[in-house]
Every structure is written in C-alpha cells, then in structure tokens.
Symmetry: C2
Subunit: 338 residues, 2 copies
Amino acid sequence: MEDQVNDPIATLLTTYNELNSASIETLYEEPSPLEFMRYVARNTPFVVRGAASGWKACQEWNAEYLKAALKDSEVNVAVTPYGNADAPTPLPDTDLTVFAKPHEELQPFPSFLTYLQQQSSLTVPLPPSHSEIRYAQTQDNNLPHEYALLASSVPPSIPFARIALSRLPDATNLWIGNSHSVTALHKDNYENIYVQVLGQKHFVLLPPVASPGVNERLLKGARYKRSDKGELELVLDEDGGEVPFAMWDPDVPEKHATKYSRLVRPIRVTLDPGDFLYLPAMWYHKVSQTGCADEGICVAINYWYDMEFSGPLYCLDTLVRSVDEKRKAEENKNDGVE
Amino acid sequence: MEDQVNDPIATLLTTYNELNSASIETLYEEPSPLEFMRYVARNTPFVVRGAASGWKACQEWNAEYLKAALKDSEVNVAVTPYGNADAPTPLPDTDLTVFAKPHEELQPFPSFLTYLQQQSSLTVPLPPSHSEIRYAQTQDNNLPHEYALLASSVPPSIPFARIALSRLPDATNLWIGNSHSVTALHKDNYENIYVQVLGQKHFVLLPPVASPGVNERLLKGARYKRSDKGELELVLDEDGGEVPFAMWDPDVPEKHATKYSRLVRPIRVTLDPGDFLYLPAMWYHKVSQTGCADEGICVAINYWYDMEFSGPLYCLDTLVRSVDEKRKAEENKNDGVE
Ligand SMILES: O=C(O)CCC(=O)C(=O)O
Ligand SMILES: O=C(O)CCC(=O)C(=O)O
C-alpha cells in the first residue's frame, strides 16, 4: 500500500475526516438565513426535525387526498423492473454495465397511486401483477407544472435558503414512490433542501472529496422500453454517449471499491414526515425509502438552488478529480510496462 | 512544457481564473452580515470605500493628536536596515537566504513618530541620521494593550464580521510606518478586515490556490541585533528552526518564479483613509505604503477573526500543497536519475 505521505488524496481524505463530524448535525428549528449561509460556506449537511410539520402538505396529504386532488391527471411515471431508475445495471446478454434510464409513461394518477399502495407490502419476488417498479421522479421542476394542483400545499421556496442564497429555487420537485425504488449514489450541482411529507427516506451521504472512493466510470446510456408483449427491455442508446457514474455502493463497500473507499466515511440519516435535510452542493447521496404504514407510499419534495461555482468547493472538486485521473493514468501505464 | 491536461495544478489555476474576477469587488456601503458571509463562503476579497470615514480615528488622528495621546508611552518598534521586517533576506557573507526578523526595541512614542515623519520625504540612499527603517507592527493584539489609550477611537470589532462569524476578533492591531517599510508576501489563517486611517496602503493579493506559484522555501530564521557600535547585524537563530516562506515577489515576477507563477493573477488594490479591505483567510498579501502628504506617516488598523477549518478551503489548500510537494519530489528524483 502506498505511503500516505506520498499520496495527496489519502492525505486529503484523512484531513477531511479529522476536521469534520462523522454524523449529521441536528437542529430542532429552522436556521436563520445567516446561520444557513454558515452551513453553505462549510458545505456541511444538517437535518431540521419537524420543520415542515405545519405545512399543509404534512397536515393533509395522504393517498386519498392526493387521489382526489389529481383524480383527472395523468402523470409521468418512471418504470423499471428492479426500482433501478438512473442506476448502473448489467446489460443482459453482454458484459457491459450501463446507465439504465427508466421507461417513462403517462399513467392516470389515481391508479398509479393504488399500484404503489398494493405493491408496498409485497416482497421480492413480486407477483406478475405487481412486478414493475414505478416512481414519479421527473426532477424537472414538476411541482409547479405537472403537479400544479398540489403546489399550494407547500411554500414556493424555503425562506432561509432563498434569502441566504439571494435566489429563487431553480426547481421544486415532487417524489412519489414506495419501498421498492432506490436512487443510486450520485451528486448534483445544486444546494438541495429536501422535505419529507409521507413515509421515510434513508439517505447515505458522502462529501465531494469522496470522489476518488466512489469509483466513477464512464457508462454507456440505455433505456427501458416496453416491448410489444408489454415487457421491459433495456436498450442501449444509439447516440453512443457516455455518462460518468459511481460504481461503488456504500452499502456494499467491498464491491467496486477503490484504494480510497475505506477512507470515505458515509453519513446516514433517516427523514421522517416534517423533517428537512440540507444536502449541500456536490455531496453524493444514495436514497432509499419506506412507505408510511397506513398508506404504503413515500412522498417528498425538494428545492434545488443553483450553487456558487466561484469559491473553493468547485476548485477543490476539480483538483481532486484531475489528481485522481492522473494517478489512474500512471498506474495503468506502469501496469502496462511491468 | 508539461501538457496542462496532465498537470492538475495548471488545470486548477486555469479553472480558478475562469471562475473568479481578476479585479477586486468595490462596495460603497458596508455589507450586511449575510452579504459578508457570502463573500466568506466564496473566499473573495472586497473593498468598501469610505466605510470608516466617520470613525473618530479617521476624523481626528494625525501626527500631533497621536503624539499628544501617547506622550508618555514607550512602544515596541521593529527596526531593520531596509524596511524588511519578516522578509526573505540574504545573510551577509553567506549564500543563505534567511527569514529576517526585526530588531525590536521600546522607543518613546513621540520621537518614534517624529523620526518616521522626518524620514518620510527622504529617498534612498538615506542619510546616516535616518538610515534605519522603523515600523510599529507588533501584530499581537496591540491596540487594546500597547495602544489602549487610542482604542476608544475605533470600534472594538466590525459588526458585520462579528455577527456573520459569530465571534469577536482574535486580535486588533495598529500599524504605524512610512513609505520605507514593505510587508513581504505571506498569508495568515485569519479572516482579516483591514482599515486605513492615514496615508495609503497598496495591497497585492493572491488567492490560496496560488501556493505552487509563490515558491515557498524553508528558510532559517535570523534576527537583526544592535551591535555595540549601534549598527544592525543580522544574526542566525540558534535554535536552527525553519519557516516556509514565499520567495516569489509578484512585483518582480521573473525572479524566483515556478512553472506556475505565470498562471497566478495578482489583484492590486490601494486603500485610502476610511477604506475597508476584506482580506479573506489564506490569501497571500504583499503590502507597501505611502505616508499621507502632510504628516508623513501611514496608519492602519486591522481585525483578525479566526477562520473556519472545516469546509472546502483548508482541504483545498492541503491538497494543492501535497500535490505540489509530490511533483517536486518526483522532479528531483528524475533530475537525479538523468
Ligand atoms: O428521493 C430520491 O429518491 C432522490 C432524491 C435526490 O436525488 C435529490 O433530491 O437530488
Ligand atoms: O500593513 C501591513 O504592512 C501588513 C498587514 C498584514 O500583513 C495583515 O494585516 O495581515
């Protein structure tokens, strides 16, 4: 094993761990804009327990309410065989791992919700009638558009974040699923305020400096399509484009590990209804969910605010990546020579 | 020249330059604590023109006022032959460059000030009667102690910084000198609010990522001592300790350059009386000064607030340094082999 003195990335991860907490900071009241800005400056997550309990969404939403509100709506549903929308997935009959995008289709909202509820208590292997995993997760500012009829149940932005960052959210997204969907480890260039409404979300968080430990690979894109027989088939994208994606799963840490994965210290936090999570820009997150006991569905809303690209965070990420790229290139060269 | 694609530090400096302004941001009113915190988060300097004009210090201080206020005081004065307190300096009769600390002595304040004033209009070579350069620059929280009689002329802290950072200043320092003193390029682990009172200060600022361009070397310490004949002699410290110090001078960019110096973009700003500078933590600064026309002295006050070590800035600095150290070690090894 390489000496840490000569390994800048190992030194970085050790320094990071020494200077930062291994668990999430918990607040019981919303921070002021200034207090929030201090967390943004430190790029440090926190959870606020119960901060949204008074929201109309948290007070009134349940499956029945949602079905009534959207009784005539069709919504975009991500459909996959394993709850693996936007996840690295083996392409059948090849030795390729691809970035699997879901089949997307419009479904009447009430029957989508009933399907989630009925499936919720079922365990794998799922019966043929409920073998598809469905997740409303369009992430395209869906709340004021697709779900406009629900938008007045939540504030249009989070005041402490709007004031601190001096901007409106770039997107407000509604997420509706059940325990069969998992969102694979990835990161976004947004400051994210994530608010739980029904059920629970289980986050695993890794800081931006963890990138050399998550084993990002360039994956070809593929998308599930519904065959004539109604079955889901994963089809390689024709454009040949590739996306970098994390292969390491902090819940299966032996698999796909890099030499740095063991220096990465995941932070785990579960959100209950009414809880806020501040998920800082560029943090990796893997998200699983539990439907609420009575309703069998899991509902959340998040607010994405544009991040700041000047300042140290983005430069730090750039440097970590290029140092790791160079190291990998050199290791490959040396492997070739030996 | 090494390809930038394979040079993480060159990539970093180019990215930094693309994302950040090449000149200083100028405000004409103090920022709010929240606005200030946004600058802290971005680690970005700014100047506020005239923000301290109403301070008693800016309204009333002049040489006469100061001499009257401190007529019975003795103050610690840094004495050097070239205005080179805390600067890299050749050690006479050797080929060593050392970190030259000033001779420090107590001087009656009024005669110290008269000396500065008389010397102020003289040019090099200075006459024997004024050949020493004197600078009151103890940097040890001198305002509330050594200069306690002046402390009520300035606020005990800067409200926007105190509120934003949620702490009192760690030190408040008074600086009194003339145009013959220069403070060599260095950096401090503090958030710094620097306030000009009399005369002008000329800052050259480099961001923390510039470290591979400033050519830091480990220098042995030395201190000026007054000989029996009254002359200043530079004497090597006996403890053999070494301090890392920047050899590159952004005003003489060809000398002592590293391969990265040309990618470093200095920001220059001159402070006039009443101006504030926010000098963010870990920024390199070289400071020269001009005495005010009537009085021949240059007076400033600065407030140091402890910086935040969690968060991306300190990790970025750690990584930049260890990548550059490793590169230098490898280049030396290769040079040895060839
Ligand atoms: O809730 C989820 O499944 C994923 C959330 C997410 O990735 C996000 O808010 O950026
Ligand atoms: O004013 C000077 O000469 C130097 C100021 C300085 O280095 C500081 O405020 O940290």
